[in-house]
Amino acid sequence: MDGRIAFRLTVASAAILVAGCGQPPPPTAAALVFPGAPALTMASASGGLNIGLWWSPPQPTVGYDATQLAITDTTGAPVTGLTLAIIPWMPAHGHGASVLPTVSEIAPGVYVATPLDFFMAGNWELMTAISRPAGDAGSASDAGSAGAIDDSADPTLEVP
C-alpha cells in the first residue's frame, strides 16, 4: 500500500475513533404528556394533602422520564406555592440517580418534575419533601414556618 494512503487511512481511522469516544449526550425526555386520569393517587404523610401523579411517558421507561403532581387539600382545592424537592431513589439498592429533577408549578396546584433519571430498571421511589413558606398557606390547612418542611410523600413505581 502506498505510504501516503496508509497514513491518510490511519489518520481517518483515528479521527473516527476519537469522534466515537466522546461522551454521548445525556438522554433526552420525550415531550411531556400527562393524559387521562392519574396513574397513582395517594395521601401525603400527614394526610393533609392529596396527590395525583402522572408519568411521562405514561408507562415509565429507562431513561429520562417526568412526573406531574396535582396536589389538593382535604377539601379538593389545589394547593399553590409549594416547593417540592424530589429525590429519585432505589430503596432496594441504596442509591439514587446522577441527575436530580427540577420542579415547577405549571398551573395552580399542578407541579411537573423533570427529568426523572431512571437510569436502570427496577423499583424506584420518589422521595418528595413538600414545603411552603410561612404566610403563604395557600388553601392547605396547615401553614408551615418559613423553610420548614410541611409534609412529604414517597410514591413508588416500577420501571420495566
Binding site: 461522551q23 454521548p24 445525556p26 438522554p27 421507561t61 429507562v62 431513561g63 429520562y64 429525590i87 431513589w89 432505589m90 430503596p91 432496594a92 439498592h93 441504596g94 442509591h95 439514587g96 440517580a97 446522577s98 441527575v99 436530580l100 433519571d117 437510569f119 436502570m120 430498571a121 427496577g122 423499583n123 421511589e125 422521595m127 414517597d154 413508588t156 416500577e158 420501571v159 420495566p160
Partner: protein, 310 residues
C-alpha cells in the same frame, strides 16, 4: 473464579457479591488430577492448593441483563425495551499463603458498564479475603473438610451519585464497606467433588443525596457438584442463592425492598501447563417468578488464567 452475581451498580448486592467472590477466590485448587485439589478451582481458580505459595490470576467477566425481578418477585423480560445493559469486568487477583492452613487474597476489579448507549468504566471496589482450612477435604475420609472464610470489600469504586454520567455508567462501586463471614464444607469421593458454602454479609450504611440507607444481613448459599477427569480437567454444576431483607431508608423500612437472586451455572477447569490453569464458566440467573426480587436478571460468562508458584 466464578461470581454468579448480578450487577455492579446495585449497591449491596454488588458489594456482597464482591465479598462472595473474594471468599470464593480464596477457594481455588491447583490443576492436580485429584478431586480433592482440582475441585475447589472449579469455582475459585485463585485459591491456593496445599503445595502453592502464591498465585496471580486475570479474569474477564461479561454479563448481559435481560430482565427484571420486581419487588413482589414477578419477572419481566427486557425484550422490546431499552432496559438491557451489559457489564464487563477485568479482575487482577492475587493470593498469598500466610500459613499452612491460611491464605489471603486480593482482588482489584476494573468495571465497565454499557447502558443507554453509553459506556462507563473505572476501578471497582477492592476486596480482601482470607481463608483458614481447619480440615482439608483431602485429609478426611469420612467427614468433609471445613474452612472458615472472611472478606472485606472497600469502597474504592465510585458510587452512584458521585459520578457525572446521567446513565450512572461511571458508578463502579458500592459506596460502603462490606464484611463477609462464611463457612466452606467440602467433600471428595474418588473423582467426585462437592462443596457447600454459606455466607453472611454485613454492609455498612451509606449516605448520599441526604438519604441514609442501612442494610440487614445478607445471606448467600453456594452448592457445587463436580467431577475431575483423568486428564486433570474438571467440570461442575453450581447453584447460588442470595437473600436479603428490607433496607432501612432514613429510619424507615420500605416494604418490598429486599433482594433475592438465584443463579445456576456450569464451570470448567483445564490445566494448560504445570503451573498454569485456565477456567471458565457460563451462568444464568433463574428467570422465573419468585427466584429473584428487586434484581436485574441476566446471564454471563467468565474466563480466568492463573499462574501459581510453589
Amino acid at each position: 473464579m466464578t461470581r454468579p452475581i448480578p450487577r455492579w451498580k446495585c449497591l449491596n448486592p454488588r458489594g456482597a457479591a464482591a465479598a462472595l467472590l473474594v471468599a470464593l477466590a480464596a477457594h481455588a485448587r491447583p490443576a492436580a488430577a485429584q478431586a480433592c485439589c482440582a475441585g475447589g478451582a472449579l469455582v475459585s481458580p485463585v485459591r491456593l492448593a496445599p503445595p502453592e505459595d502464591y498465585a496471580v490470576g486475570l479474569q474477564t467477566r461479561v454479563r448481559n441483563d435481560m430482565g427484571l425481578f420486581g419487588a413482589d418477585g414477578s419477572y419481566t423480560s427486557f425484550a422490546n425495551t431499552s432496559s438491557m445493559e451489559q457489564d464487563v469486568e477485568q479482575d487482577l487477583a492475587i493470593s498469598f499463603r500466610l500459613a499452612r492452613r491460611a491464605q489471603v487474597s486480593l482482588v482489584l476489579p476494573y468495571v465497565e458498564t454499557h447502558r443507554l448507549d453509553e459506556w462507563g468504566s473505572g476501578l471497582g471496589d477492592v476486596a480482601v479475603s482470607a481463608r483458614y482450612d481447619f480440615k482439608l477435604a483431602a485429609e478426611m475420609t469420612t467427614w468433609p473438610g471445613f474452612a472458615l472464610l472472611g472478606g472485606v470489600v472497600f469502597p474504592t469504586g465510585k458510587a452512584v451519585g458521585d459520578g457525572t454520567s446521567p446513565a450512572a455508567t461511571d458508578a463502579t462501586g458500592t459506596g460502603t464497606y462490606n464484611v463477609t463471614l462464611g463457612i466452606d464444607v467440602e467433600k471428595v469421593h474418588g473423582a467426585l467433588y462437592g462443596a457447600l458454602n454459606l455466607w453472611g454479609t454485613y454492609s455498612g450504611s451509606n449516605s448520599s443525596q441526604g438519604v441514609t440507607t442501612s442494610y440487614p444481613l445478607q445471606l448467600t448459599a453456594l452448592a457445587v457438584a463436580g467431577y475431575v477427569f483423568e486428564n486433570e480437567a474438571a467440570a461442575a454444576l453450581y447453584v447460588n442463592f442470595l437473600e436479603r431483607g428490607d433496607t432501612t431508608v432514613n429510619g424507615t423500612s420500605p416494604p418490598g425492598s429486599g433482594l433475592r437472586l438465584t443463579t445456576v451455572g456450569i464451570t470448567g477447569l483445564f490445566p494448560v501447563a504445570d503451573d498454569w490453569r485456565l477456567s471458565g464458566s457460563i451462568y444464568t440467573d433463574v428467570m422465573l417468578a419468585s427466584f429473584g426480587r428487586n434484581e436485574q436478571a441476566g446471564a454471563g460468562v467468565t474466563a480466568t488464567l492463573v499462574r501459581a508458584w510453589r
